[in-house]
Symmetry: C2
DNA sequence: CCTTGCATGTAATGGGTTACATGATTTA
DNA sequence: TAAATCATGTAACCCATTACATGCAAGG
């Protein structure tokens, strides 16, 4: 049930916006942390409106509808932030494969881990470069988005280091 | 489509087993990396059988059916391991909240991060303790499961460090 | 004999992905 | 005037979760 709060949160931070505006945000920033597609966004806007957590505040050209968070919506957002325990989805496609690497030859298993290490190294560098380029503003989404981005960088680095360690563990077993 | 390969992989590693056997594996080891419930397991066994990737190899008491991987199934497992790029699900409930911490008072935001750091620290310790206790065997699932567990430990540690760093970043901004 | 564990299945519901479908407005 | 962008919506399908439903077998 977190898509609901992603939409609610964005509308709260942006002081309102259209479904199209939200989609842009999902595409270029929030989506790295919680992805959503167009169908989902419009669907959720409808449900949130029906539940009274947001409302249409203006209508523009091309059928554009601008939404704003209601008092009830703000309350729900705070409740979610403060009271609901974030529960981790235990699903990792890379790690699932690791469990079954015994089905491959040892050198293929090592190559898999090497591939992960390289991939993660690449991504960590890309993120680090991006981090240097961006001019962070002083608004909430910039301040907290920056924290999230640093998390991403550390995550990639950690995964790279682990994959290299794991590759060496397998090499050590070969004797 | 990875549940399919989780089931296929387990049957390959265990040299066959029943739905019940697989559920046990999901509960106590594989589930930390790819979770699945009873309905899913039995449903997937049916689909895999219909597609010829596994087959019933024996029937036991209480309607027990033992499944084994077919040649086609083994082929599909290798293909998945070697050729399919693991794609990461970009969904993290903890981090999603971080984006919207600006909706809280600064001290509440810091408390959220502190809570995460504590939680992760606790889990990292639990995992480290578990790691020390387990007698790892020499079978594939033990060898590779050990790698996955070390990943979990490092992951928790990284998250703890990040949450502490983020908390300090917020404190530094207060001036 | 009673509890625990073994064992399988189905139905309802909700969320996510992909594809389809349409059209207005701006800009080059 | 053509292409790009803005803008919304629906339908079909698949996957995951929860709940329901049943019954046999082994051990204390």
């Amino acid at each position: 049930m977190s898509l609901r709060h992603a939409v609610l949160g964005l509308l709260a931070e942006l002081d309102g916006g259209s479904g199209y505006d939200l989609m842009k945000m999902f595409e270029l920033s929030l989506g790295n942390v919680w992805s959503a597609n167009q169908s989902q966004v419009y669907g959720e806007l409808g449900k949130l409106t029906a539940d009274g957590l947001i409302q249409v505040t203006a209508e523009g050209p091309r059928g554009r509808k601008e939404y704003g968070v209601t008092g009830e919506g703000r309350e729900e957002l705070r409740r979610w932030l403060l009271e609901e325990e974030p529960k981790q989805a235990r699903r990792d496609a890379t790690l699932l494969r690791v469990f079954f690497l015994g089905q491959l030859d040892p050198d293929q298993a090592q190559a898999y881990l090497r591939g992960r290490a390289d991939d993660m190294g690449r991504r960590a560098e890309e993120l680090a470069a991006l981090q240097g380029q961006i001019d962070w503003g002083d608004d909430n989404l910039s301040v907290y988005g920056r924290l999230a981005m640093e998390y991403g960088r550390r995550f990639m680095a950690m995964r790279r280091e682990w994959a290299e360690w794991a590759e060496n563990e397998l090499k050590a077993r070969e004797s």
